[in-house]
Amino acid sequence: MVTVDCAINSAALAVRVRKQLPRARSTSFLLDVSFKVLPGITILLGPSGAGKSTVLDCIAGLLRPDAGKISVDGDVLFDSEGGTDRPIQARRIAYVFQSLALFPHMSAEENVAYALHHLPKEERSTRTQEILKAFRVETLRTRKPSEISGGEKQRVALARSLVTQPRVLLLDEPLTGLDAELKAAIVDDLRAWNAARRIPVLYVTHSRDEVDALGERVIAMENGHIVSEGTPHEVLEAPRRKKLAQAAGFENLLEGTVVDLREADGVMRVRLAESVCEIEVPLGYAAVGDRVRLAIRAGDILLATARPQGLSARNVIEGRILTMERRGNLVSARVNCGVIFIVHVTPGAVRTLELAEQSQVWLVLKTHSCYLVAD
């Protein structure tokens, strides 16, 4: 009975969402994504603030996109053009929040049965017991959420959301705070449950560690946009750019080759093209040997007339000033370090440091002033 119902459910979730979100300090944030989630677990990966939860809220119907279309196997849930906006209650989409949001005044059993109130008592009870068993929490039936452990709560929350036989499951970092072993055990049970049903599961996380362990597919998001999509291997290892900085506004655009990845430090070393000059930049989706493009603002580079010591900045590069040109309130210097850097300094600094063409200088660059850009 259950399997038949769910076999019809196996279908893809198609999402196209555009939404302008007000953010603090008057900077607004534009969410603009379009993707498809096939049956099985798909990871939505990205740093906090990338807009992952907003996407889930739009799919569930808790937020209304400005424009776009959301459908499950052709059944349209939202369409800004067609004027469709199915109410949350009618979408048949399961959603497990990061906080889990178990009803604190109800037992585990009552929590799970909450969505089944329209069913006859007997069926309600059968379905509840069945799913509690599938997630190994049948012994906690009568316990309140405050009386069970974190992992057990997560199991009850999963059971509660799946007992409705939803068409799609949305998970918003539901397993944060669990150790890897416990996490894997819960995910195994989720996989087992989904093996027969094959519904699309969209799993949001900001942790790269979870990607390999959980997902069959990965969608990487940043700043409201999708930056890469594919298998975990493709997204994490392939030469894709993590930071999609706009090339406009950067005076220095440099080609380079990745020579070393230091995952633990969150950095990688890049040798700048046709030189021996190496600099440290934030870790991106790149592998050793990949060609990358770096963007650095001329104003983010410091100039010193002696080799600086005791700096937190990781990149100190020796070079010689080629030309200097006054532009209003600043001086633009071209410095040859094997590759040419453009550096902006103040006229005052030029006088104090007695900078002149052919002066020997050292450039100082913070790791995070170096941006990876898309081709």
């Binding site: 808790l62 906080s99 949001a101 959301s161 409705t164």
Partner: protein, 226 residues
Amino acid sequence: MDALLLSLKLALCVSAILLVVGVPLAYWLAQSPWRGKFLLEAIVALPLVLPPTVLGFYLLVAMGPRGPLGKFWQFFFGHGLAFSFEGLVLASVLYSLPFAVQPLLASFEGVDCKLLDASAVLGAGKLRTFFRVILPLSIPGVVTSLVLSFAHTIGEFGVVLMVGGNLPGVTRTVSIDIYDHVQSLEYADANRMALVLLAISFFVLAVVYALNRRVGRRLWSPWTAQ
């Protein structure tokens, strides 16, 4: 004793009516995105700052034979509203409204909105969410609201005097009875009644603070309300 019974009857009626009126009002105030709702909040809170005589005066005018409320009542029930028990109930409901609404509002707003989202995602409409999630989680607020409405109505004086006058068995409540006793220098009688009121007030506040402690946050306290 008549006065005490009358006070208890009045307080029971008023608390019951305030529960029925206060719950939807507080829910609306907690949920409505309407920008102008602060106006309604201010109106609900008015009795906190208005001298009882001012409230009583306007109510008396409205309830009088030529006032709108008085005419309405006369038309449907065949007797006037001023100086009647019904008039007293109506006046007390308005006077105690903030004491009923504020704890309800505080507990409704205190319910984690993620729980409401979860309820909606699980297919529950607004009504089911209210009765199965919001209300059960707001029981301390409901009790606080009832207890405060009851106590505040028992203790009121100015509004009752203005609207109800002093008719034994009809509108002479405990607080007015005490006043009468003092005026006639019957201190022993006044003291007896005053002790009863003191005991009731203490009991009520003890209940409220015990509830606050159990909930772990302030639903109401005299320091925040006044």
